[in-house]
């Protein structure tokens, strides 16, 4: 019987799945297939230290570890088709491989700005980051389309290097879909205080490449000249190969609460997986290191028969902008109230997000202890109600202490 586990995608999720399977004692063959030629590496620094200080790439594991753990790592190779009836994948190298289990950790691809966007830089991979680095050797006027996490982190890094940076977005505020209003306002002010020009609520945004290699970004009523244009407008999950094999896809590869597709031999994890989170009212797809790592560990344990309960790791996320640390625990989707505790002036506070009177997420600015407590709170079985939160002597630590099993 075939004992091969094929992992399609060698990013954070795929690599973790391979490592965890071995660490849990899986004795069969593990094939880790990734389309990049680098050793699997950490993506978060790409928009931060890698851009800013020219730091070297941080591999997730040394090359020797893959060999020691007998993980067959195929670099520069992708899965081009899946024959689920035969449990066989075809690789871009031409070879075919059979599997007992297939883990799809395919990640996503940068969403392209509509129209002639050839000259617009984006960021997902090391080579994307290198392309940006090549262009910022001298002082530049940079226009960033998209005030999401990637856009704002790139803005922070490039501003820190002395470039003139403008960020534009059609949304009314920065991080509009990702954080609560108080945190968004703080981040907005933080960028302005650091000299980033923000143009939110733009009624239209278009890109015009010019003959001399420069470009213009045109808003309704304003033309912004640019040496470099960068777009961070989200990713599209890489679902094509899954969809072609007949698996259900809907903004991601659809999986159940055990991260399994309708085919019990096929799982999907990380950026490409659409799942019903225990922390959301609808199906979500989460792009974060935490989600990649925890889902990988979950599926590895499931395959090894060590897991009964559904996936319910607490989602958490971090960002670093202008030397301010933003950490989020939980999912803010559908929150109807956000209450700030702490000091905006001191740049140290947390925002508690409530949905129907229950705390569903906490955003912490330079308050890592709050963040750790928030993760404990959300992982626990006692919810924080708004009523308990508004009690005069409330503290998160106190609340957690009061709810410890005795």
């Amino acid at each position: 019987m075939n004992d091969t586990i094929i992992i399609a995608g060698a990013g954070q999720a795929g690599t973790q799945a391979a490592i965890s399977l071995r660490d849990l004692g899986y004795g069969g063959r593990i094939l880790l297939v990734g389309d990049e030629t680098d050793l699997p590496y950490q993506r978060p620094p790409l928009s931060k230290t890698y851009l800013k200080s020219g730091a070297s790439l941080l591999p997730l594991r040394a090359e020797k570890i893959f060999a020691d753990k007998q993980i067959e790592l195929l670099r520069g190779v992708s899965v081009v088709s899946i024959d689920r009836a035969a449990r066989e994948v075809r690789l871009s190298s031409g070879q075919t491989e059979n599997y007992a289990h297939l883990i799809l950790a395919l990640g996503g691809s940068n969403r392209k700005f509509p129209g002639d966007s050839e000259g617009i830089l984006m960021l997902r991979t090391r080579s994307d980051a290198d392309r940006i680095r090549e262009r910022i050797a001298e002082q530049r006027r940079v226009v960033i389309i998209g005030a999401g996490f990637v856009g704002l982190e790139v803005a922070s890094s490039l501003r820190g290097l002395g470039h003139h940076v403008t960020v534009v977005d059609i949304a009314p505020r920065v991080l509009a879909r990702s954080v609560s209003a108080p945190t968004s306002e703080f981040v907005h002010a933080l960028h302005e205080a650091n000299g980033v020009v923000l143009r939110c609520d733009a009624r239209s945004v278009s890109y015009e490449p010019l003959a001399d290699g420069k470009a213009e970004v045109r808003l309704a009523g304003e033309v912004i000249p640019a040496d470099i244009v960068f777009a961070g407008i989200g990713i599209e999950p890489n679902v094509a190969v899954a969809a072609a094999s007949g698996l259900e896809t809907r903004n991601g590869i659809v999986v159940d609460e055990f991260l399994s597709t309708a085919d019990p031999a096929v799982f999907a994890i990380g950026d490409c997986a659409a799942f019903q989170s225990a922390y959301a009212k609808s199906v979500v797809r989460i792009e974060s290191v935490q989600n990649a790592v925890d889902q990988a560990k979950f599926v590895a344990a499931l395959i090894m028969g060590n897991r009964q309960a559904a996936y319910r790791a607490v989602p958490w996320f971090w960002s670093d902008q202008h030397n301010v640390k933003l950490q989020i625990a939980g999912l803010i989707g559908g929150h109807d109230e956000a209450i700030l505790r702490g000091s905006v002036a001191d740049k140290k506070f947390s925002v508690y997000c409530f949905r129907e009177g229950q705390c569903v997420a906490i955003e912490s600015i330079n308050a890592p202890a709050d963040h750790m407590d928030a993760r404990k709170l959300l992982a626990g079985s006692v919810p924080l109600t708004k009523q308990a939160f508004l009690a005069p002597d409330f503290s998160l630590k106190g609340f957690l202490a009061g709810n410890q099993p005795v």
Partner: protein, 107 residues
């Protein structure tokens, strides 16, 4: 390349080469040292790279910054005076042979 020595809770010793300028957490994760998790990638945000450093060499290490200080209050295993987050220790020639004791658990 200089090396440091991790001591596991069961007494097992593991020597790990750490490139100059790299964080000890990163070298440990890259080398697959069990007991160093480094969930947040080295931003002093998760307290899963907690170590106890050699008492006698504490003064040679970079000072504990305010964020690390706060995170050390959130470690899963007990905090001691020798507690550090290994992501905040950048390797130098002088740290050759540093002994780092691993806590019982990080999560």
């Amino acid at each position: 390349m200089p090396a440091v020595v991790f001591v596991h809770p069961d007494g097992r010793r593991e020597e790990v080469d750490v490139p100059l300028g790299s964080s000890i957490m990163h070298a440990a994760v890259s080398a697959g040292v069990d007991g160093i998790v480094g969930e947040c990638g080295g931003s002093a945000m998760c307290a899963t790279c907690h170590v106890y450093v050699d008492e006698g060499r504490r003064a040679e290490l970079p000072e504990i910054g305010p964020v690390e200080e706060e995170m050390l209050g959130s470690t899963t295993s007990e905090r001691r005076v020798t507690s550090r987050l290994s992501c905040q220790i950048v390797m130098t020639e002088d740290l050759e042979g540093l002994i780092l004791e691993l806590p019982e658990t990080q999560i």
